[in-house]
Symmetry: C2
Subunit: 193 residues, 2 copies
DNA sequence: CCAAGACCATAAGGTAGTTTAAGAAATGCT
DNA sequence: AGCATTTCTTAAACTACCTTATGGTCTTGG
């Protein structure tokens, strides 16, 4: 099994004992997903939490005008899924699509809940993960309300150097909240200076 | 002590036993804060986590041009503080200021860590809180990248009906990421229709 | 009770970002 | 290899939002 990477990931946060490792291996199921395939679509309830072993995903919203807006990307060692839907069992408004052929580990909601009740250590691990995610999201909100698109793009390049050559500019523009045409003029301007 | 509201708040999430209640009462300290007073300023390390009993706060960033950008408001039963700074012991870039005379409960970092190690139940409580906060922040990012300022304002009114009559339009504009002047024209347009 | 700040509104001119459309470049498919 | 599709760029007209400025109302404190 390929749960090894995940075990190591958890271990780096908080060392696991054998039982915990065994249970993680039991409940996380490996799955491969082809490019352009969805692991969540609007209207579905998100019943699985997903950890990316290889590949890349994007999670996006389709607005009333039919336009897509990328909320998040996920590459190796990232989590992806609609936590809101997962938590409250309500239909998701988000889509999660593979942008490359990918390999993931998925855990069902009931198994993850069992993980929390039977092995409380994971409450701490996932608390820290959620807090880290919060910090990242706060940072992004601040950027969105205080910076220009150019500043946001430069910040994106700086913070995600491994991401920007795996993802098309159309997708990056959508993540930044601008049109691809405007991102193009930004890139041109930056290249000149 | 006024920890009662906090105990009830925790109890609603996950029932506490006597020992847990006693420890919460021991480590959370009541404090009153006057309007315009700061409980965190840029450059300081955030060493306390804050729960609002009464009053209202805003957390904001000052950008390189000297402009303020509101990241978050907090009224009764909300938490406020710079989690990033709190977690990593690094100087905060944020300011937290009371916008009304307020009463808060604060817990020191070391006491909160003790809470997590000695009473693991709180890992679960704070995991759920962090996950809920994530959902709210994701929602806000999506709005920022996909909606107009008018749509964001209407959404704010809808989601925070108790907040909008306690906070000036200048502060709301800063939260939405527009100038107060533009918010004024938005409000005028809405009033007409 | 007056002065000093806050807060809100309005308007004119400016800039950041969008729309539409069309062509060039890169990539995928058979 | 060769055609189709997606991706990137450019440009012109347009819209959302910003800046600066001015005046009015409402609080607040001394």
């Amino acid at each position: 099994m390929k749960t090894l990477a995940l075990i190591e990931y958890f271990n780096r946060m908080l060392p696991l004992d054998e039982k915990e490792i065994a249970f993680v291996e039991e409940i996380f199921k490996e799955r491969s997903v082809k490019k352009r395939q969805f692991i969540l679509q609007e209207g579905e309830i998100c019943k699985q939490n997903t950890y990316v072993l290889e590949g890349c995903f994007r999670m996006y919203l389709i607005d009333p005008h039919g336009k897509e807006h990328n909320l998040q990307f996920a590459i190796e060692n990232w989590w992806i899924g609609d936590i809101g839907s997962f938590h409250s069992n309500t239909p998701s408004k988000l889509n999660v699509e593979a942008t490359e052929n990918s390999i993931i580990l998925q855990v069902k909601k009931e198994d993850q809940l069992k993980l929390f009740t039977d092995y409380p250590k994971f409450n701490q691990i996932f608390r820290v993960l959620a807090e880290n995610a919060m910090v990242g999201l706060q940072r992004r909100v601040l950027h969105n309300i205080s910076s220009t698109a150019e500043e946001r793009y430069l910040d994106f390049l700086e913070r995600h150097p491994t991401l920007f050559n795996r993802i098309s500019n159309v997708q990056i523009a959508s993540y930044l909240g601008v049109t691809p045409e405007f991102l193009s003029t930004i890139r041109k301007k930056i290249a000149k200076s």
